[in-house]
Amino acid sequence: MDKFKILIVDDENDFRETIIKRLRARKIDIEGADCGPKALEMVDAQDFDVIVLDVKMPGMDGIETLRQIKLKKPLVEVIMLTGHASVESGIQGMQLGAFDYVMKPVALDDLMDKLRQAYERRVIQLEYNK
């Protein structure tokens, strides 16, 4: 697989660190952020290909973070993580340009699949915008 760079944003430390550990074991370049503002800082500083973003976070929630990310870097693909199915946030996220939704608990292979598709989309987008 091509080398691509992922950021995972989730306030649940255990969940975030486990995902990072497991994806790094698969030789994937992944970083973590524990809140929206931190994620935005990192997006400013580095170029991520795909961002996995928890919908429900204290302070700045996932939808607001998504909005801000898309303002900064419109071509970054974002996969939303949701603990419980929330239709409202689903529709909002899609309208704001999220690539997909993944429900927790998530099977790693499932997430990998979606990451790959999101990355493929980003590559196509970057080609269009050359």
Partner: protein
């Protein structure tokens, strides 16, 4: 019209000749026939006949040119009609926007004036009163922001990104997002997905948005104990079909033709922007497909989407 006026009359005649050979041929034949016939009767007759024939040639030319002009004018007025129809729909759209934005503005103004009033008094105003006023202002700004945001999305015509899309997978993902909401209303969510559905070339996030929107609408329309059925099927002409059917309240006949219009909503003010289905319609058209609705009031609605299996790599 302008193009013609630049060319010489001679060229003009040649151009006409090409287009109307039969008419000019007859007129020219008359000239050729008239002169020798006239010569038999005498040179004066020949001259008169020749003149007459030439006159007929000129007249034919003029009539034909007038016909052409009339045709072009008709084309022009057709174009103008289209333009004015476009303008009318823009007018409708702006009326909708104005209405939707004016309401929050009115509330904001009232609250702000009330706060000003409070601060005019000598004693410091009641903290709770001030707070609730400010909170309402924030609320209304959010409402207006949502409207403008939706509009921007509506206007944004970014190219669809074409990838291989597993439609059934998208349907399953989106139904799992609404499953909980359906359970809460005790709605039966039935999936009848064709197992051999071909992979299609389309834009996955856009399709997710459409299907989620339709599912959400179906849940809102369906009462407790109702059923929502999602169907996927391969269709003819290398197309695939997705259906979202519900046993909900249905759509009155008089609303059916407006259902995809921007800002058309039957929800109470502030509850819906009336953009959901018009966005869906726009997306499906961009993906080269069609979305249609059938509904019987009191029995339920059915939204049918047809999508091509293959799309230009660059979308449309």
């Amino acid at each position: 019209m302008e193009k013609k006026s630049h060319t010489s009359p001679l060229l003009n005649l040649f151009h006409d000749l090409g287009g109307n050979l039969a008419v000019y041929g007859t007129a020219l034949g008359l000239v050729i026939l008239a002169v020798p016939l006239g010569l038999r009767a005498g040179p004066m007759y020949a001259l008169a006949a020749g003149l007459l024939a030439a006159l007929s040639l000129v007249t034919v030319g003029r009539v034909l040119r007038q016909k052409d002009t009339a045709l072009r004018q008709k084309e022009l007025s057709d174009e103008q009609l289209l333009q004015s129809q476009k303008l009318a729909s823009i007018g409708e759209l702006s009326a909708g926007i104005a209405h939707e934005i004016n309401n929050p503005l009115a509330i904001i103004r009232q609250e702000a004036e009330w706060l000003l009033q409070l601060y005019k008094k000598d004693s410091p105003p009641d903290a709770q009163e001030t707070q609730s006023g400010l909170a309402e202002i924030v609320n209304q700004v959010d409402r207006a922001r949502e409207i403008t945001h939706n509009l921007l999305n509506f206007a944004r015509r970014s190219q669809p990104v074409v990838q291989g899309v597993e439609l059934n997978r998208i349907i399953l993902d989106m139904t799992s997002l609404v499953e909980k909401a359906a359970q809460q209303k005790n709605i039966n969510l039935v999936k009848r997905l064709a197992p051999d559905l071909p992979l299609i070339e389309s834009d996955a996030p856009l399709l997710r948005q459409v299907i989620l929107n339709l599912l959400n609408n179906a849940i809102q329309a369906t009462g407790k104990g109702g059923t929502i059925t999602v169907v996927s099927e391969a269709a003819d002409h290398r197309q695939v079909m997705v259906q979202v059917n519900d046993t909900g309240v249905g759509i009155p006949k008089e609303h059916l033709s407006q259902i995809f219009d921007p800002f058309f909503t039957t929800k109470p003010q502030g509850k819906g922007t009336g953009l959901g289905l018009s966005i869906c319609h726009g997306i499906i058209e961009r993906l080269g497909g069609k979305i249609i609705v059938t509904s019987v009031e009191g029995q339920g609605s059915s939204f049918v989407i047809r999508l091509p299996q293959a799309l230009d790599r660059r979308g449309r």
